[in-house]
């Protein structure tokens, strides 16, 4: 006689709980539950979330084979699925563009899809079919490595809250139009575009993430922006455009975002903002701005330093500051422009809430040291100043340390921490 089996522990739990359990395990395991027992045969088939990746199929070193297996698997799952599908995600580097994908999107458009995430393989870009634009209930759309061509009469996704376009082939007008036709858009992420001049009209936008070769970014109508993160790459084209520009980018970019809480700028962002900055007086204060992170700032260029100073003095509630220097400054050209700093010191504003500062890639150049002294003198509640040198020159590092030790500090609690490699 074998063991006496206890009563079935799990099959009689409410279907909603079973579904929530099945959605917490990989799709392959969820589908396999159909052979557990007769009660479990179709329990998986009404889950509302389908998340696929290369791990859905057995491993094989043949990329094409894996891509085809994944396609077959997804087609079969969709075919056997019953009921609405709220989230569909496929992230596969091996899945190649194929006609089945058109059918999946058509099927999803008929099944109340709310969240669609597609990140396909490195081959030929998949062209998104027009049935995507019929997905009326779409709330989140993330596309990578595809081609998107919204139809002329497309009225927008009325419920879309989050849009992500990464390495998507789409004409610039279409991007702007798409953004402005989605009135509820709260989060926008656009990356790896070439030479894009973007104007953003999104009255409800709260989070903005941009990365790529941008010629121009104009936040025309985005008054509720709370978080901005921009990484701007440089090309010759863009460099030329910068030279010839007569705008004040600072105002154009940050002029309409009074609710900003966090600003992150990478690569050439500070340079972009520095154009036209010395000609204009800044009109607004950013009362909610608590975190500023600017990377790859060129301390040789006083205009870029001016960007930082203008920002931090317009943010009375700033708590955290992270700046990283540009480590490709020529060694020789270090002539301190002390006039600049004298002028700035006259203004007298203090950074009353600044608690934590991190400066990395510091080469020990005069402007960097002056900046550190500026911060130390004007931050009455500063707690930590972390300095991470780029390890080029011990001489410079020593000079930096000597100046810092000498400097008067406004905050008695300030700890200056210097990191050694």
């Amino acid at each position: 006689m074998g063991d006496v089996m206890g009563p079935d522990l799990i099959s009689d739990l409410p279907q909603s709980i079973i579904e929530s359990i099945l959605m917490k395990i990989p799709i392959r395991d969820a589908v396999r539950t159909s052979i557990l027992s007769s009660k479990w045969r179709y329990k998986w088939s009404s889950i509302t979330q389908l998340i696929f990746d290369d791990k859905c199929v057995p491993f094989s070193s043949d990329r094409e084979y894996v891509g085809r297996s994944v396609t077959k698997f997804i087609t079969r799952v969709l075919f056997l699925h019953q009921g609405p599908i709220h989230k569909f995600q496929i992230k596969s580097s091996k899945l190649q563009s194929c006609p089945e994908i058109d059918q999946w999107i058509l099927y999803l458009s008929r099944n109340d899809i709310k969240e669609l995430v597609m990140e396909l393989g490195d081959g030929e870009f998949f062209r998104i079919p027009s049935s995507l634009f019929n997905c009326r209930k779409l709330r989140r759309l993330e596309l990578s490595r595809c081609e998107l061509d919204p139809p002329q009469n497309f009225k927008g996704f009325k419920g879309l809250r989050s849009l992500g376009l990464h390495q998507v082939l789409i004409c610039p007008d279409a991007v702007e139009s798409l953004i402005s036709k989605c009135p509820l858009l709260e989060s926008l992420s656009v990356s790896y575009f070439d030479n894009l001049a973007l104007t953003i009209r999104a009255p409800n936008l709260k989070h903005l993430y941009l990365e790529g070769e941008f010629k121009d970014i104009y936040l025309e109508d985005a008054p509720f922006l709370v978080e901005i993160s921009i990484a701007m790459y440089m090309t010759d084209d863009i460099a030329e455009h910068f030279e010839q520009s007569s705008n004040c980018n600072f105002v154009k970019f940050l002029g309409g975002v009074p609710n900003l809480e966090k600003l992150v700028g990478l690569i050439y962002f500070t340079k972009y903002l520095s154009i036209g900055i010395d000609s204009v007086h800044l009109p607004i204060m950013y009362n909610n701005l608590e975190t500023i992170e600017l990377y790859q700032v060129n301390f040789e260029d006083t205009k870029e330093i001016l960007v930082i100073l203008r920002l931090i003095t317009s943010a009375p509630n700033l708590k955290e500051l992270q700046i990283s220097g540009s480590s490709n400054i020529a060694v020789a050209a270090d002539i301190p422009d002390l006039d600049f700093w004298e002028k700035e010191c006259l203004s007298g504003t203090t950074l009353n809430k600044l608690k934590s500062v991190k400066l990395s890639e510091m080469g020990g150049w005069s402007h960097e040291i002056e900046f550190m002294k500026y911060l130390l003198r004007r931050s009455p509640v500063l707690e930590t100043l972390n300095i991470i040198p780029c390890v080029f020159d011990m001489e410079n590092n020593l000079r930096m340390l000597m100046e810092l030790v000498k400097c008067r500090r406004a905050s008695t609690r300030a700890e200056v921490v210097f990191y050694r490699e």
């Binding site: 089996m5 206890g6 009563p7 079935d8 522990l9 799990i10 099959s11 739990l13 409410p14 709980i17 929530s20 359990i21 099945l22 917490k24 395990i25 990989p26 392959r28 395991d29 589908v31 396999r32 539950t33 159909s34 052979i35 557990l36 027992s37 007769s38 009660k39 479990w40 045969r41 859905c56 199929v57 057995p58 297996s69 077959k72 698997f73 079969r76 075919f79 056997l80």
Partner: protein, 347 residues
Amino acid sequence: MSEIDMAVIKPEMMKPYVWLQTSDDSIQQVEQEIAMFCPLICQEIIQKGLGSSKNCAICLPQQVSPTMLSLILDYCRFHQVPGRSNKERKAYDEKFVRIDTERLCELTSAADSLQLKPLVDLTSRALARIIEGKSPEEIRDIFHLPDDLTEEEKLEPLRNITADPRIRLLNRLYAKKRKELKERERLKNIEVEEELVDERSVDDLLSFINGNSGESKGVKTSKNKKKNRRKKEQQKHSLKEEASELNKKEVNGHDIRHRSSEAERISETSCLHYAEDGTITPKVEFDDGDIDDEIDPALKEKIDREVEDFARRLNSDWPERMQELLSSGQERKTMHFTTDGFLRRHA
């Protein structure tokens, strides 16, 4: 709720304890603050004013046994304290779900009935972690699931039987074949009936003459069966031969008409092994006796393969996709279920 109701309830709500009745009908006194963490209990107290005394104890759902209630109250007691950090809460949760699977399932059920969503999420995640990555046998073992799917169902667990293109193809072929057979039967209908009656009487006479009724009858029947088989085979291949053997075989036409579709299918496939010389060879491949709707799996496998060949020959320009599906069914794989095995039928 009217003002009066609120006035009546409010003093009740000031009491620190509520009375709860669990599934075994026992009644417990519990600190109100903690019990109110459960939405269902909260609802019962506020909307119905229950729980203030032993007499009007809140009757908890059937899934809440005393042990479960005590576990749930521990959970509520910890989490309703506002000052705890997220890290503390997470650490507590991790420890909390380290219980045996049976209690975990019971707890999920109880928490769900009390509408305590955070606990349901926690236990669901724990159950998901248990299921993830395990083989079906292991899962059945842990949760005491009955292994009540047939082998066939397991190997094709996800096929919506009528929707599968292969099965649709098979059905179409069978229907076609059945129609053809029916046509031919109709042609000999009247004659056969009469012949049948005659044969019987001759048989009787013969057996009487020969003196061993049972035996001859038995021989005759088996002969009939074999001839029956051959008859069907011949129908497939040549009408000429059929005509020549019509006298002997007509009695069997009656039988054929009444055979199930399965038998016809069997005969069709065995026709592929037809012996041209027409001799009666004992065929031991199957029992005529137990032809019913269920088919022996091994035989089914053979039939499938043969019908596929047949299908290909009939429909040589079938779309590529069908070909692919059919050929994938030919591959031999182990019984262990994988998602690639959707169309793989037998080991």
